[in-house]
Symmetry: C2
């Protein structure tokens, strides 16, 4: 279906604009993705937006034609509107010429395919959506199974997280759970839980990793609670040659993930 | 000197508030740092703000007392004001109870001590201040000499970069230069220039690094220009097991820096 929207107070405009707020996303189970590149990443991994919003006067682009076609075939809705209204929806002064609405994915642990990759990343109380998206991007790069968000983390479906993921939000599995639920799920099968830690830990280069390896990274300011670290099978640490005693959470996860990848492949 | 400011239109308030804009920082050569933790990091590395702004009604804290004393001894200015005015200065609804103003450091290449560390990070056209601060933090962690910003990068003295650096803006040397100037400076002495690259490159784990090693990372969307890569002594690549062909710039730099650190130390 195709229609045009010309009014700022149109209910669809209000609905889409509302998806910038986490509580509305939660209630509706929908999220917004901006830009032809991310929407093309989504399409190439089999995810087509239910609603595609395009600014009139945009430049023609073959990938945009492909996207339109995919939305039509999937029975989705295509909305043409002004650049100003698209700007109102996305909250940006210079929005990309296209945005799409998707249904949020099932993030229950039961929905995860544990065999999807030899490495998993697990973030605990990660607050920064940019860090979250960056971790998803790293997951993709190391061929991980996915990212599991433990306790109260930033929203993986926020615009910032989706953008920082560079499309990995569509290729990586995402789980969300409290700590107790996560541990119970993890211990149902094989899985080595490895904490990036400063306590009672060994050097990250000589630690014996085993697949499937779950790399646990803590909150940006507080790190991991001690009892969480103690529940891990392995605590490893990176050299710290300067004044500080920690790395950015996404950086720590990535340095560790690349070390695990190397060991598992050699 | 100690004084109280009660008016929103006070010229000092306007001046400090103006330092949130890059063009004002450039003109005045000053920058703002928020929060007791960062200001304490600065003090511990011998940097004391020229002006300290404190909100009345703040909680007492021994580190704040130390900071006040250091500012007094250094002949700086202490300003007491309301939480609302501090909020206006920092642009945050819930500002930290204290902020300080510093003179920007000399970032000319001539001012850098090349012997300060065996690893240097070099960022080209890096646009995200969070990535820039994260790279400074990683520099500190690997005991680097510093971070060199080539071409048009984000401002290392922006509030976002300073915050993401977790204090490393005070411990790491920072250089700024165009590419030609950087290369001329680099080739005046020893130094291996290593690009994180996809072209004509070898695996990052088996490449022969040598100190001082300069790790070059490119712009977030475009990567490095081809002629920049070709000017490097070594081009290395990280495994990419997923759909994407690149990592976040700060992540790529960190994975590489930790590999270089390991090789140089073993």
């Amino acid at each position: 279906m195709r229609r045009e929207i010309t009014g700022f107070s149109n209910p669809t405009v209000k609905y889409l604009r509302g998806l910038r707020d986490k509580k509305n996303r939660r209630r509706e189970g929908k999220f917004l993705v901006e830009g032809l590149r991310l929407l093309t990443d989504a399409r190439e991994t089999g995810r087509v937006p239910e609603m595609l919003v395009m600014a009139k006067g945009r430049d023609a682009h073959p990938l945009l034609d492909d996207l339109e076609r995919a939305v039509m075939i999937a029975g989705g809705e295509i909305i043409e509107t002004s650049a100003d209204i698209l700007s109102k929806i996305t909250g940006k002064e210079n929005p990309q010429a296209v945005a799409g609405m998707f249904t949020e994915f099932d993030t229950s642990l039961q929905a995860l395919d544990r065999d999807a990759g030899p490495i998993w990343m697990v973030a605990q109380a990660l607050r920064d959506p940019g860090n979250l998206g960056t971790m998803l991007r790293t997951c993709d790069a190391v061929g991980a199974g996915g990212l599991i968000l433990v306790d109260d983390c930033a929203d993986p479906f926020s615009v910032e997280a989706v953008r920082a993921s560079m499309g990995a939000v569509f290729t990586q599995q995402i789980g969300q759970a409290g700590w107790e639920e996560f541990i119970a799920w993890l211990r149902q099968g094989d899985g080595q839980l490895v904490a990036a830690s400063l306590r009672d830990s060994q050097d990250y280069r000589s630690a014996p990793y085993a697949a499937p390896c779950f790399i646990l990274v803590g909150n940006e300011s507080r790190g991991l609670p001690e009892d969480y670290e103690m529940a891990c099978d392995l605590r490893v640490t990176m050299p710290m040659r300067g004044r500080a005693d920690s790395l950015n959470a996404a950086v720590a996860g990535a340095v560790l993930a690349y070390e695990v990848l190397h060991q598992l492949e050699h």
